[in-house]
């Protein structure tokens, strides 16, 4: 018995056209929904991180004159996708008086891996220091690295400070990328 006659599938020039149409249509049809999804997926890149404005943190008189640092929360309106939260803590800053009318501000976030640095008061030594509990980095009161080989790639991040009306301490609050040797503002 001979095998049943098969209708010929397209080959040659016609076959090429058919194959091209198949590939183009097949590709486009799937590309459309995928592209729409990817555009929505990439939306977070448009979102900017908060910060960059001067915020009133404290009054000058609450800062000890001996230069002991104090930690202050940064309170601002926070937007979380569709929700808006008025007056929420969005970060914290160490403030330290360096002269009668001069204040220095340091981010509490460790430049190494983003943990929160704590202040350790002097224990028999002359002054206290900053210490990061995650990877044991130590920083001086000015934020400079104290260890010979510090886990932190850079000194603590200082922030711009303005003393307004001789009493109000305003800080330009920003977050910085961790792990880099240079201070890079997070956008």
């Amino acid at each position: 018995m001979t095998p049943p006659e098969q209708p010929k599938s397209s080959d040659g020039r016609r076959g090429f056209i058919v194959k091209t149409i198949a590939l183009i249509c097949g590709g486009f049809s799937l590309l459309i929904p995928a592209a729409i999804g990817v555009v929505a997926f990439l939306n977070p890149l448009r979102q900017k991180s908060t910060g960059g404005d001067f915020i009133k943190l404290a009054s000058l008189e609450v800062l000890p004159e001996d230069g002991t640092p104090r930690k202050f929360p940064v309170v601002a309106d926070r937007t979380d996708a569709w929700n808006r939260f008025p007056d929420e803590p969005i970060g914290a800053v160490f403030l330290r008086r360096t002269a009668e009318n001069k204040v220095e501000a340091l981010q509490v976030v460790c430049p190494h891996a983003g943990c929160s640095v704590v202040y350790e008061a002097s224990a028999g030594e002359k002054t206290g220091k900053f210490f990061c509990p995650c990877h044991a980095a130590s920083f001086g009161l000015g934020g400079e690295r104290l260890d010979k080989t510090s886990p932190s790639p850079r000194d603590m991040d200082s922030l711009d400070v303005e003393v307004r009306n001789n009493t109000e301490v305003w800080v330009k609050f920003q977050n910085f990328q961790s792990g880099a040797a240079k201070k890079i503002v997070q956008t």
Binding site: P4, E5, Q6, P7, K8, S9, S10, G15, V18, K19, I21, A22, L23, I24, C25, G26, F28, S29, L30, I32, P33, A34, I36, G37, V38, V39, A40, F41, N43, R46, T79, A81, W82, N83, R84, F85, P86
Partner: protein, 600 residues
């Protein structure tokens, strides 16, 4: 390249599988009538892809579901298109499965050896219904909530287990967080996953049936490239249709894509009156109306269940010729029936004025909540519904209708607005604005129905004073009255008159006229002059504080005292302070307006 493919095939066998699939025989050769399975698989792919990205934005929870969809729809670039493509591809999927099923029935393709192809298709159709029903609720707007509320309540019709099924479906005795978490899991996990399984089962059944057939005498060609070309062209056409549906309302406005209604309100007194199921369920909806309430289990469960049983039995019935004719006739009758019932339902709703009003109200509310969500305060953590509950423009008319419109009208010059059940007290539209006060001081209007006409004050001291003293005024006197109106109306501090009130000179003259020439303070108190006890206090007349006071207790000596007509003291167990404030803010036009803020 070839070496790489060989290596891959040797390790995994994937290349061989792909070649087998591409070269599998198509009995009878390539045809445009054979594209349906591929378009169904493709449309499901669109569902899966867009669903995956929707999932990244969705937050199931009674205070976050609508809000996250709002965020996607209005804040995420292309988010509305993503939603719309997902929505319309679901509808398209149902249509494609319907076409495929009908084609199988008509040409008798459900017969051996293709029974499983047919059964898998029927089950895919059912799972698509389940996908539509569960997906519908996730937007958590008024319509989807109201529809799902009714649907899940149907579960209680089931004997013995009804109550338990209901609780299991919605995650407790009432709708809330757990309803949404459940519906997400059912939608994606059970029904999405289930559809995929059925799709695979279907394609395996097709492969086996076609392979068996091609060994018999029939002619056949390989799938690649002729049939695949037809399939992919059909896929692209389906995708274009979905896109056109998604783009039918434009690309930029708030209503682009699939409209998102106002957030689901679980308060039964705010139940959405115009809730209707999606088109695919309209026939069943109308069908259920043919039965009396106590027999509701028949149209909801028994008869649709029976239909599914008949559909599943078709491949067996179709073995004989008569059975096949029955199947075809049955299908035609059902399709015609569904179509007729669906159109009847639509026609009924079109002719129903109340239904159309309810829809218009809901659209207005959805617009309003969008405006409020975009206000500087944004959506609070308690959800977008809080915005509506604290909005005078939304709550004011409801409160007025319920508590004030027994006696008071609130009708503008075109007689549009809220009509009282029995107009027997002043029309409060534009209360205390210049036009309203000018009308009050008009001898022709004071005893008319818009002011004291139907009250105890008709022909009273005030009306008498106006009729005697303010009739037949000369031009100068008329100017005086205009100034007096300005002065009194300025007491209300209405936002609508802020710019007018800022012109002080004339109002100052009017104030003097009010205090001296016209002797208002003989009966009324006005700031430092006059005494309380006879007429109402004109100090801050129509201001927020004044209105809150009179609604709270009109019989207070600051207002009508003992002469109070019929108005109850609303602060006593009728309205909360919050409700009174909302009502007052609405009467005074003090609500959030884009660009203007709340005012004051």
């Amino acid at each position: 390249m070839k070496t790489l493919l060989n290596w891959l095939d040797q390790r995994t066998g994937l290349v061989t599988v792909a070649q087998t699939c591409l070269n599998r025989p198509v009995p009878g050769g390539a045809s445009w009538f054979k594209v349906w399975p591929c378009t169904i698989a493709f449309t499901f792919c669109v569902q899966a892809i867009t669903g995956f990205f929707l999932w990244m934005y969705y937050s199931p929870g009674a205070q976050t579901a609508w809000e996250s969809v709002y965020f996607l729809q209005h804040e995420v670039i292309g988010g509305w298109l993503l939603r719309a493509v997902h929505h319309y591809s679901a509808q398209t999927l149902l249509v494609l499965i319907g076409i495929y099923l009908v084609q199988q029935i008509i040409i008798g393709a459900y017969r051996a050896p293709r029974e499983f192809v047919f059964w898998a298709t029927v089950l895919m159709g059912l799972v698509t219904f389940a996908l539509l029903l569960t997906g519908d609720l996730l937007a958590w707007d008024q319509n989807s909530y109201a529809c799902t509320q009714v649907r899940t309540k149907f579960l209680t019709l089931l004997p013995m287990v009804g109550g338990e099924f209901y609780k299991l479906a919605i995650g407790g005795p009432a709708f809330g967080h757990l309803t949404l978490t459940r519906f997400v899991a059912l939608h994606i996990g059970l029904f999405g996953g289930g559809f995929l399984l059925l799709l695979v089962l279907h394609h395996v059944a097709v492969y086996r049936a076609d392979t068996a057939k091609s060994k018999s005498a029939e002619k056949s060609t390989p799938l690649w490239p002729d049939q695949i070309m037809r399939n992919t062209v059909a896929r692209l056409v389906v995708m274009v249709v979905i896109l056109l549906l998604a783009l039918q309302h434009g690309v930029s406005a708030d209503h682009a894509g699939v409209a998102l209604g106002s957030p689901a309100d679980l308060d039964p007194s705010n139940y959405y009156a115009a809730a209707r199921p999606e088109w695919a369920f309209l026939g069943l909806y109308e069908f259920s109306h043919l039965f009396p309430g106590e027999l509701a289990i028949l149209p909801i469960f028994c008869i649709p269940g029976l239909l599914v049983c008949v559909a599943l039995a078709m491949p067996l019935l179709g073995r004989c010729r008569a059975g096949h004719y029955f199947n075809v006739a049955f299908t035609v009758v059902i399709l015609v029936g569904i179509t007729v019932l669906s159109f009847r339902s639509v026609a009924k709703d079109r002719a129903d004025a109340d239904h159309q009003i309810a829809i218009a109200d809901e659209i207005a509310q959805a617009d309003r909540v969008r405006q409020l969500a975009r206000s500087p305060e944004g959506i609070p953590a308690t959800g977008a519904l809080t915005l509506l509950r604290n909005d005078p423009l939304t709550q004011g008319p409801k409160l007025f209708k319920q508590h004030c419109a027994i006696c008071h009208d609130h009708l503008d010059a075109q007689q549009k607005g809220i009509k009282a059940e029995e107009s027997s007290a002043p029309n409060l539209f534009g209360f205390a604005d210049r036009k309203w006060i000018a009308g009050l001081l008009d001898p022709k209007q004071i005893n008319g129905p818009g002011y004291f006409g139907n009250t105890a004050f008709k022909g009273g001291d005030m009306a008498e004073f106006i009729e005697e003293m303010l009739a037949d005024l000369d031009e100068d006197e008329q100017k005086d009255i205009e100034k007096l109106v300005m002065a009194l109306s300025a007491e209300a501090h209405l936002r609508s008159q802020r710019e007018l009130d800022a012109k002080h000179a004339e109002a100052r003259q009017g104030r003097q006229l009010l205090l001296d020439d016209y002797g208002c303070t003989d009966c009324h108190k006005f700031h430092d002059k006059g005494k309380l006890g006879h007429g109402t206090d004109l100090t801050g007349y129509g201001s927020r504080q004044w209105l809150v006071g009179i609604i709270a207790n009109p019989a207070h000596k600051r207002f009508y005292g003992k002469e109070n007509d019929r108005m109850p003291a609303y602060a006593k167990d009728i309205l909360s302070d919050r409700d009174i404030a909302l009502l007052v803010d609405w009467l005074r036009g003090q609500w959030y307006v884009e660009g203007l803020g709340i005012g004051d």
